[in-house]
């Protein structure tokens, strides 16, 4: 059967791709679009490694059809750094060793950015609940949560 044609915007760039009706957005990102930063940990919505934003809303790209991207604004991990400069979250994750193998990291970064975009003063509890859908097998959560809190503090300082 003929493939479906989808027009969307990814990290601010108008983009077109072809997909099958049952392809997930994650399939399209990692396949035809070559954006392999989003990872597949489970494909069932449990791990958050595939996190993206859709019109600014945090979503698992494994639980969304590629065809649903039509006309929407998708944000992926590839859009975090700007002009070759790491996002403050990425910088802080490196400084505070908030990653080991790194497979969960793109998902944590996209999810954490979605949090800081709406709330630059999250409490530790808020960070932990917000990130409850992101699983990490190796680093443990303390370093990740503290890196997010540190970044928020720094970004508040910078915006004063």
């Amino acid at each position: 059967m003929a493939k479906m044609h989808v027009s969307t915007t990814i990290n601010g760039e108008p983009t077109e791709f072809l997909c099958d009706a049952t392809d997930t957005l994650l399939d399209a990102l990692r396949g035809p679009l070559g954006l392999t930063g989003s990872k597949e940990g489970c494909a069932t919505g449990d791990c958050g490694a595939c996190s993206v934003t859709v019109d600014g809303r945090l979503t698992c790209s494994c639980l969304m059809l590629a065809a649903e991207a039509e006309g929407r604004e998708i944000g992926t991990i590839e859009g975090l750094s700007q002009g070759g400069k790491l996002h403050p979250l990425q910088q802080k994750f490196l400084e505070m060793a908030a990653l080991q193998c790194g497979i969960c990291t793109p998902g944590f970064l996209v999810a954490s950015k979605a949090l800081l975009d709406r709330n630059l003063e999250p409490t530790e509890t808020e960070v932990r609940y917000w990130l409850a859908g992101n699983l990490c097998r190796c680093t443990g959560y303390d370093k990740i949560v503290h890196a997010v809190l540190e970044t928020a503090a720094e970004m508040r300082g910078a915006s004063r």
Partner: protein, 289 residues
Amino acid sequence: MTETQYLAPHSLDEAVSALLAANGTGRILAGGTDLLVQMQAGIVKPGLIVNIKKIPEMTSIEETPDGGFRIGAAVAGAVVGEHERLGKAWPGVVEAINLIGSTQVQGRASAGGNLCNASPAADSVPALVAAGAVATIHGPNGRRTVPVEEVPAGPGRTNLAPGEILVSFTLPPRPPHSSDAYLRMIPRTEMDIAVVGCGVSLTLENGKCTAARVGLGAVAPTVLLVKDAADALIGSKLEDDALEAAAEACRAACRPIDDKRGTIAYRTKVAGVLLKRAAAIAADRAGRA
């Protein structure tokens, strides 16, 4: 095998005709947080997927002229949680919908999908039942409305006829000093399936309970409306013996399964405990409403 087709119609009538033409192989896609998991697992292989999120009536929240609310069946949980006036009038319904999954799942999961997936443990359903929510259904023969508790038929099955789509939930207007609450028992603090879920909605007049409804989840093949528990609360000032009578009515209504999440004895006991706690929270909120 024939390949799956995908449609995103802009009207309900188009969606209904497409579903009918698909001869039982069509599946409605709201947030996809159940449907896509089932497709990945190979449990369902739809011939047609109908994305209903382009239908404005299904993705909006409105206040009705009489002071109630109409919540589109496909509105994502995160959007429900951001509606301030809805959260004031129906904090229990909103907290139940917001308990579904993670932040990512909230970005997509809808109350309509939660109800139509027909899990006995669906978190939003006991709260909607307690709220007296009415489901509006659009189908080949036009529209009908039914109480939410009449939509599920059993685990994974609904009473929707072929081609029928759940359009929205209507919540009734709220008298003064009314409120609601939803509590679930899970072994973890987040991301788990309810062992028992309990929704209570009530109205107080000078401290006396004048109206109440109780919804109980995960203790029977479908979510239950427990009228005897509500009757035990109505007319009381929520004294200990009235709460104990309502808890006993909840325990008596339980017909749970025994599984790794909880034994029959445990689920039954917890149903009574959650009733008392949820009623206390709802009463506290109502006192301030």
